[in-house]
Every structure is written in structure tokens, then in C-alpha cells.
Subunit: 161 residues, 2 copies
């Protein structure tokens, strides 16, 4: 591995590890238990699963890796808070889509070389990027990995001990 | 900035951002409110603050950046769960130490160049590192940043809305 490759691998490995932890944690919940709130009056586990799936689905066009697969999740899980709208999908379907979206992202990440990682992401203009080269693809994945960790810390609270 | 520097900056910027978010969140709690649990029967906010401080203090020798400053936190906040032992410090002192440890780490991170980031961390043997060059300093910081995010997601649940 080149130095650059070792540097980007730190980020991709972290993404894979955190997704794996979330998957493992999800495996502890029945579909019915996904209806539990992470704390009294807070988001349901199912809402957080929908939220993460929708945010990750948005990463496909944002990182130039493909079209969105599931824009139908945004209303229920990004635009609105928990229980404002009904759940658009069954828990079983949502689990499937979560895996599908992450698998697609991870496979694409593994094909990118260090130079690709430094390219700007789609939410940044050419001018902004010229001023700040740190608004690149790698920074997006670092940020989204921390976002999963944030909600992982919440979902774990709902797990039966 | 060189390509390598932009890659490592993605990680250091993320560390700084997550620490800043945690600091801002802490600012919402009085010392008394730090005694709240993040959810019924779960860790107190104060315990999580002590835990993160102790883990970050351990990063100093682990990353070859200096001696530990506060090993006295380990018993109460790493080795044991919440409320097994008493709190060794007042909330005011713990807040001060949290800032002190993070400031020292962040200042050191800003001095490291990409080659330094790729050096092995102290918890890995030369043999292990030769087999897996990904066990470097940068990977430790990526991992610890996600660890802060994980607990940040929990502490936010205790915030008065």
C-alpha cells in the first residue's frame, strides 16, 4: 500500500467497522422491538434506522457514486421527526434497504483511489472547493461515520441487557 | 496543502468538530445536572465525561505525545461502571481536565505531518505493525472521534428540550 492508501484506508475501515457494529446491534431487535424508543419520549429505533438509511442513500449522488435508490424515505425520516408521518415501509423491508444502500456505498468506496477521495463532493461549488480543498469526499465519509456512531450510542440504550 | 495533508486534515478537523460539539453540549448542563442519567438506569453524564477524559488521557502515551496527566481517573471511569466507586474529582475540576487533555492532544495533532500520522501507535508491536500498517496513529484518532460521537448521542438525550 502507498502512504496515501494507508491514510484513506483508516477512514474506509472505520466506516466498515461502524456499519458492522450497527448491523450487529440491529440483530438484537425483533421487528416489534424496533418500535421501542431509545429513551422515554425520544426517537424509536426504527426511526433512527430509517433516518440513517435515507442519509446514506443521499451519499450516492453526493459522492458521485450513483443515483438515489430510495428518495421515498426522506419525508418520514429526514424532513419530519419521529411519528409525524407513518412508516412508509415495513421493518423487514427497511432492514433490507439499509443493507443494500450500505453495500453499494462500501463497494464503491473500495474502488476509489486516494486521488478520487480528494475530489469535491456534489454539494460544494467549484469556487468553494477552490478555496477549501478539505470539502472532499473523504471528509463526507468521516462525517457520516461519526453520524452512525452518534445514533449507535442511542440505539444501544434500547437493547435489553 | 499537499494531498497527504488534505487527507490527514479530514481526520483532524473531524476530531476538532466533535470535541467542540461535546463542549457545547456540556455547556447546557449545570454541575448538578451532570448527575442526570442519559436514560433510566444508564450512565450519568458525569460518568461519560470522566470516561472520555480518561480515554483521551490514555491517548497521550499511546500516540507518543507525552506522559499521562490523569491516570487517577481510570478506576472510577474505565475499570468500573458508573456509581461503583465515588467520583474522584468535582464536576468543576473534571470539566477543566477534560479541556486540558483535549487541548494538549489537539495542539500535538496539529504539529504532526502525514508521515508522523502513519507511524505505529504504542499499543502495537513492531511485528504486528509490519503485517498491518493500518494500525497507525491516524486510525486511533478516527476511532476515538467515533467514540466521542457515540457518547455525544447519549448525552444529548439528557439535555432539557
Amino acid at each position: 500500500m502507498t502512504h496515501d492508501e494507508v491514510l484513506t484506508a483508516a477512514v474506509v475501515d472505520s466506516w466498515k467497522l461502524v456499519i458492522k457494529r450497527f448491523d450487529k446491534l440491529l440483530g438484537n431487535f425483533t421487528d416489534e422491538q424496533l418500535q421501542q424508543q431509545v429513551a422515554p419520549g425520544k426517537n424509536r429505533v426504527l426511526y433512527l434506522l430509517g433516518h440513517l438509511t435515507a442519509i446514506h442513500d443521499r451519499m450516492l449522488p453526493m459522492l458521485g457514486l450513483g443515483e438515489r435508490m430510495h428518495p421515498e424515505l426522506d419525508d418520514a425520516y429526514i424532513t419530519n421527526g419521529d411519528r409525524v408521518l407513518g412508516d412508509p415501509l415495513s421493518a423487514t423491508d427497511l432492514r433490507r434497504i439499509w443493507t443494500e444502500v450500505n453495500d453499494k456505498l462500501t463497494a464503491a468506496f473500495e474502488q476509489l483511489d486516494p486521488r478520487d477521495w480528494l475530489e469535491k463532493h456534489a454539494a460544494v461549488s467549484d469556487e468553494e472547493f477552490a478555496e477549501n480543498p478539505k470539502r472532499n469526499r473523504l471528509s463526507v465519509v468521516v462525517s457520516r461515520t461519526n453520524h452512525v456512531s452518534y445514533h449507535l450510542g442511542q440505539v444501544v440504550l434500547a437493547k435489553r441487557s
